[in-house]
């Protein structure tokens, strides 16, 4: 499968990239942004995207790297590779849930190319969508691209493609913020506000906007963190369900905790009520299981992937329970 025709833009600085965006990014159909390329390039071959311009960020060195800001947390450039996240000492020491999640993404080769920004922005996925043009003709297309039917929930009008990044679940637990830059200026938002919950338009990101940095606050540091990923193979696979848990303990009780899930909804989601269910408790099987049930209620897996929805929902329960127990140190 060949790539569609496009013009490649290769800015050397963020300013140059913003110039390119100002000039060419009138709509998302005209311009796509590439960093590691592990998500975009196969999709372009499948003609899911046929942009006029591709903006290649890889040569903007200022967007790469992990910087510790004394007393105010850590700043991660969007182009930082997942391998670099996986092997970062400071992240491993202070925000271990993120290194753990990063280490589960795809395979070592793909982590060398894939970036943290790309993992946050990752397109939502569905067996009815991530297919070649010829295949999609055979299925009559789908609501996310060129069609009017959601094959996984045909009675409705929404797209249910699943958000399938691993690191955002960890970042949600860490209350991460992201910096978004456009020719019109700069803004900083909490990651949980970045996602819409819609499978076919899942990010609050205008065509001329770039996600440039991720911020981890000092207050989110030093939690015990665990990420658990359901997949069929021990490598390569996208998550079929993922759960991140962070817990801070004090005197054997939970002082603070957060739980987030991924790959079972069109967005990664913080499990509401989990913090309340855990705070002040000494974690035992019953507590952990209650949190698992909460997580399973938050999950809405559909037939977007090979394993059945009910299995994935059940695994959200089991994996959450196990992750809570592990993070609580039981």
């Amino acid at each position: 499968m060949s790539l569609p025709d496009f013009k490649l833009l290769r800015p050397r600085s963020l300013d140059e990239a913003l110039d390119n965006l100002a000039k060419h990014a009138k709509s998302s159909a005209r311009l796509r942004i590439v960093a590691g390329g592990t998500d975009l390039i196969p999709s372009m071959r499948q003609k899911l995207f046929e942009p006029e311009y591709v903006l290649d960020l890889r040569h903007i060195s200022e967007l790469s790297g992990i910087r510790e800001r004394k007393g105010s947390g850590v700043e991660i450039g969007a182009l930082t590779s997942l391998t670099a996240i996986e092997h970062s000492d400071v992240l491993r020491r202070r925000y271990s849930v993120l290194t753990e999640a990063a280490a589960t993404v795809a395979s070592p080769v793909l982590r060398n190319m894939g970036t943290i920004g790309g993992n946050i922005c990752l397109d939502t996925r569905c067996l009815w969508y991530n297919q070649s043009l010829t295949w999609r003709k055979g299925c009559g297309f789908c609501i996310k691209k060129d069609g009017d039917l959601c094959h996984v929930a045909p009675g409705g009008t929404k797209c249910w493609a699943a958000f399938s990044g691993d690191t955002p679940a960890a970042l949600l637990c860490l209350n991460a913020e992201v910096e978004i830059v456009s020719p019109r200026g700069k803004r900083r938002i909490a990651l949980h506000e970045f996602y819409t919950g819609l499978g076919d338009d899942h990010r609050k990101l205008q065509p001329d906007e770039l996600l440039t940095r991720v911020f981890l606050r000092e207050t989110a540091a030093d939690y015990r963190g665990v990420y658990r990923k359901l997949r069929v193979r021990g490598s390569i696979d996208y998550p079929l369900a993922g759960v991140a848990v962070v817990i801070k303990r004090s005197n054997g009780h939970v002082a603070d905790a957060r739980v987030a899930i991924t790959a079972v909804n069109p967005a990664p989601l913080v499990v509401k009520g989990a913090t309340e269910a855990l705070n002040g408790k000494a974690v035992d099987d019953a507590v952990a299981d209650a949190v698992g049930v909460l997580a399973a209620k938050t999950a809405k897996p559909l037939t977007t992937s090979a394993l059945t929805p009910e299995y994935r929902r059940e695994m959200i329960r089991v994996f959450t329970k196990r992750a809570v127990l592990a993070a609580a140190g039981n």
Binding site: L3, G140, G156, I236, L307, T308, Y311
Partner: protein
């Protein structure tokens, strides 16, 4: 039917049946004028039985080796194929004019450009290179564009206008068998490609004698080969020097069967076979997926003919999945009876295979499924009803363990259940039902060498079965299973008495040995096997041997790399060719050495006299390879000048000297050329008549000159909350007759276990209304290195009386044991019996929850994996209230299921 005794007697007239101890005493060069298969038995080989590197290893590991898609010729165009978006439709009109007008497009071909039907089996000529009047599956081939590049060709595909008339489609084989109208092929009533009904012995009596009977339905879902190299073909016509018109056709292709490709090209293109040259470059794995003619191979040729330019087509991975020819999803309704002492009294199997839209190897597959119920254990009574059914899905064909794997999964699982029912150890029940070879099974299969008893003993011993079975921690278990496979089909696809393999050897005055073999190395190492057998037989170093393989202009016919036939058949042909040349060299060398040809030993590039005769240092022992005799004058005698032998100087020397005590290989070769005028030899192999099976209808499939045997123990653990199965270790023993190259044999065993584990745990083609939901290696999940267990490969050598140096197959037989070994280990670990593979975590969890009476949740789309009634479809809806693809009103996708109504929240 002849008595066992008579078969045995007949056998002895044709070949030597020698007890292995006595055989080991035999010396290497029997004083026999007739080249027989086994005149070279000895214990001390120099090249056979040694783990040597594959002769093509360097090119593959450095990247310098050329696979078909690496090839390029001047003026070459790229071909791209238009595939059907409909599962079943009549083509009313194709208009290619818009595509033809696109800049860069040279030609567009359609079905009418090559309207002759073909198929791998003579009874199954039902395919067209491009659809003639009907498409029969999503992905069927409609048209092909040849253009200056891939991008242009793909754009042109969008400009081809096809008008279809939709037809109702059939996706489930049991539904398809009920069809009376809108048949997939008009000449196949009820969409049944072929059915067979075999009764051997008296099954009813057998069941009446049984103390315990188990009866159940097993389902094995569909798997595909997933070879690393996608199919690729480069077709080019030579210009005829006399006429200037296109002349001979040269096709380079990723094939396991160059000769069949040449044959089918000849049929479809209406050219003489002699005008077609097929060359097989390096092939990156086949596993059966390249063991027949794949549409692109013919499409490339017809596009090249019309374009008057070379055309290369390489499939995308999705197209590889559509070309498929993999293992059909199979229903096995199985009934087995045993006595309380463990004796199997009868087996009854009804097998339904979902074969997809064309015949392919289907008739053979359904026959293997029945035939290879025999030849593993002693089963006195067998009833077999096999149905190969057509559906509107990609075509199934031959895949590693062809026809045997799914039935073996069912049988070995059921045998385990029966062992449990009568309170017998699972390994013991297998040992209790061994054959007593040499024998002929109830269904006419001749079994000679039979290493199964040793295979079982070895895995039982190495795995600590007796000490550990049943005493492992909760969630961990051991399972055992056996399997077997043919060492080549005794009857070729196109029936004839002609040899299945012929090999030529040429040796010239440079002392180089060139072997011309049709054997197709697809990564399994046949080139290496040929080189080893040649070098061992001629007593030369392997570095002397050049193998020219799989080029129909240069190499004599070998019918291909399938049914695990190459080592046995091409190996035997190579052995005979080498013996032919050796005899000629010996005649000449003996004259120079003043002895009988039979008194000579060829070894390590030296021809010397046998033990007891006067020889160098009086012992006649050959020297280790590469070591020159101290003080030997051989280099100067053979007169090396820049790698050449100066014949004149040698003759001069010879005149000066008297009879010699030994000759270097080169001297011996030169002596032979002097004596005979030229030095070449030939050998061929056809399976013996008494190995070709019984007389019943369908008896031609299953017979083999020899069978390989495997036994495996798998150790697994099961996570009872998630249903995830981890395979920790597999002990896999395999009787390959003799391991010609042990490291290669171990590689094949490990590969078989690994591939079997894929089918057991993760690999499954997922279907929804004829759409393949996972046509790629991301969603079709072959195991990665992470979940590959330790495999302890154990070689068992039964030394087959007819195999080359005693060798049998080693590439396929092990696969089938892995799946039931794992299912039986799951039972040992957590007490659930899965009757549907793969044993994905959702299926295992569903079985566990049912066993524990947990609250029912629909983990498996309504199909109970412990008692599956039907094939499972992927969830969701292809079509819903007028939305979705166009499909015929009677298409199964248009039946609304209650689950389909899910809305927005």
């Amino acid at each position: 039917m002849r008595s066992k005794r008579e078969w045995r007697r007949r056998g002895e007239t044709k070949f030597l049946v020698i007890p292995s101890a006595a055989r080991n005493l035999l010396l290497c060069f029997a004083n026999d004028e007739r080249p027989t298969t086994n005149d070279d038995f000895m214990t001390d080989f120099s090249i056979i039985g040694k783990s040597i590197a594959m002769v093509d290893a360097a090119g593959k590991t450095t990247g310098s080796g050329k696979y078909t898609d690496d090839l390029s010729v001047p003026g070459m165009l790229i071909g791209k194929i238009l595939h059907s978006p409909y599962p079943h439709a009549r083509i009313k009109r194709i208009d290619t004019s818009r595509a033809e007008k696109l800049d860069g497009v040279v030609t567009v071909v359609v079905g009418s450009d090559a309207p002759n039907p073909y198929g791998i089996l003579p009874v199954g000529h039902d395919e067209y290179a491009l659809a003639l009047d009907k498409v029969r599956y999503v992905g069927d081939n409609v048209a092909c564009v040849a253009a200056v590049d891939e991008f242009t060709a793909e754009r042109a595909l969008e400009l081809i206008d096809v008008e279809y008339e939709l037809l109702p489609a059939y996706f489930d084989p049991e539904d398809s068998m009920k069809a009376e109208t809108n048949l997939i092929h008009d000449n196949k009533p009820n969409n049944i490609e072929k059915d067979y009904h075999h009764v051997f012995g008296d099954p009813e009596k057998g069941f009446a004698e049984a103390d315990r009977i188990a009866e159940a339905r097993f389902i094995a879902n569909e798997v595909t080969h997933a070879a690393m190299e996608p199919h690729s073909t480069l077709a080019a016509f030579e210009i005829d020097p006399q006429t200037g018109n296109p002349g001979r056709l040269i096709v380079q292709s990723s094939t396991q069967v160059p000769y069949y490709l040449q044959h089918k090209l000849s049929l479809v293109l209406e050219m003489q076979m002699s005008q077609i040259r097929v060359i097989k470059p390096l092939v990156g794995g086949g596993f059966g997926g390249k063991s027949e003619v794949i549409p692109l191979e013919i499409i490339a040729a017809i596009a090249a003919r019309k374009a008057k330019a070379p055309v290369k087509i390489t499939y995308t991975r999705e197209e590889v999945f559509w070309a498929h020819r993999g293992r059909p999803r199979t229903i096995v309704d199985l009934k087995t009876g045993v006595k309380n002492d463990g004796s199997i009294t009868a087996v009854k199997a009804r097998v339904v295979q979902d074969g997809g839209a064309y015949c392919s190897y289907g008739v053979v597959t359904i026959l293997y499924s029945g035939a290879l119920l025999g030849a593993l254990y002693d089963i006195p009574n067998i009833q077999y009803d096999g149905y190969r059914v057509l559906t509107n899905k990609p075509v199934c064909g031959a895949m590693r363990g062809h026809g045997t794997v799914n039935v073996r999964f069912a049988f070995e699982t059921q045998l385990d259940e029966l062992a449990a029912a009568i309170g017998m150890d699972p390994a013991e029940i297998r040992q209790h039902n061994l054959l007593k070879p040499p024998c002929v099974t109830v269904n006419g299969l001749r079994v000679q060498s039979y290493g199964l008893p040793e295979c079982i003993e070895k895995v039982v011993e190495r795995s600590g079965w007796r000490q550990r079975k049943g005493k492992m921690p909760r969630g961990r278990g051991l399972g055992v299973a056996c399997s077997h496979y043919v060492s080549g089909a005794a009857n070729s696809i196109i029936r004839s008495d002609m040899p299945h393999s012929t090999v030529n050897i040429k040796i010239d005055r440079d002392g180089g040995v060139v072997v011309y073999t049709g054997a197709s190395d697809i990564g399994q190492g046949s080139d290496t096997m040929v080189a080893q057998i040649t070098a061992e037989t001629l007593g030369c170093t392997i570095a002397r041997v050049r193998v020219i393989a799989a080029d129909t202009d240069l190499t004599p016919i070998d019918i291909g790399s399938y049914s695990s036939r190459v080592t046995f058949m091409n190996g035997n042909a190579t052995l005979r060719a080498a013996q032919d040349v050796k005899k000629q060299i010996a005649t000449a060398a003996a004259r120079k050495m003043n002895c009988e040809p039979g008194d000579l030993i060829f070894r390590s590039d030296v021809v010397s006299k046998k033990n007891g005769l006067q020889g160098p240092r009086g012992d006649g022992r050959p020297r280790p390879s590469g070591q020159a005799e101290p003080g030997s004058a051989s280099p100067s005698v053979s007169g090396h000048v820049e790698g050449q032998i100066l014949r004149g100087s040698l003759q001069q020397k010879r005149k000066d000297e008297g009879p010699k005590e030994q000759l270097s290989f080169e001297e011996a070769v030169v002596a032979a050329i002097d004596f005979h005028g030229a030095l070449s030899g030939t050998g061929s192999y056809a399976p013996p008549l008494d190995a070709r099976g019984g007389k019943h209808k369908g008896a031609g499939v299953g017979p083999s000159p020899a069978y390989s045997y495997s036994a495996q123990v798998a150790e697994v653990s099961v996570d009872e909350e998630t249903g995830e199965v981890t395979v920790h270790k597999v002990w896999a023993s395999h009787d390959c007759g003799r391991a010609l190259n042990p490291v290669s044999v171990e590689g094949q065993i490990i590969g078989s276990v690994w591939m079997g584990m894929g089918q057991a745990l993760t690999e499954e083609m997922v279907w929804k209304d004829g759409m393949l939901m996972n046509p790629g290696l991301l969603e079709y999940r072959s195991p990665s290195s992470v979940e590959s267990p330790e495999v302890e490969a154990i070689i068992v050598e039964s030394i087959d009386p007819e195999g080359p140096f005693g060798a049998k197959e080693c590439s396929e037989g092990s696969l089938a044991a892995t799946i039931p070994a794992i299912s039986n280990a799951i039972y040992d670990a957590v007490g659930v019996r899965l009757h549907e593979c793969p044993f994905t975590p959702e299926r295992v969890l569903a079985a566990l929850r049912a066993k524990n009476n947990a609250k029912r949740i629909n983990l498996t789309e309504g199909v109970d994996p412990t008692s599956p009634a039907r094939f499972r479809e992927h969830g969701g809806s292809l079509w819903y209230r007028g939305k979705g693809p166009e499909r015929h009103p009677l298409d199964p996708s248009r039946t609304e299921t209650p689950a389909a109504v899910a809305g927005d929240d």
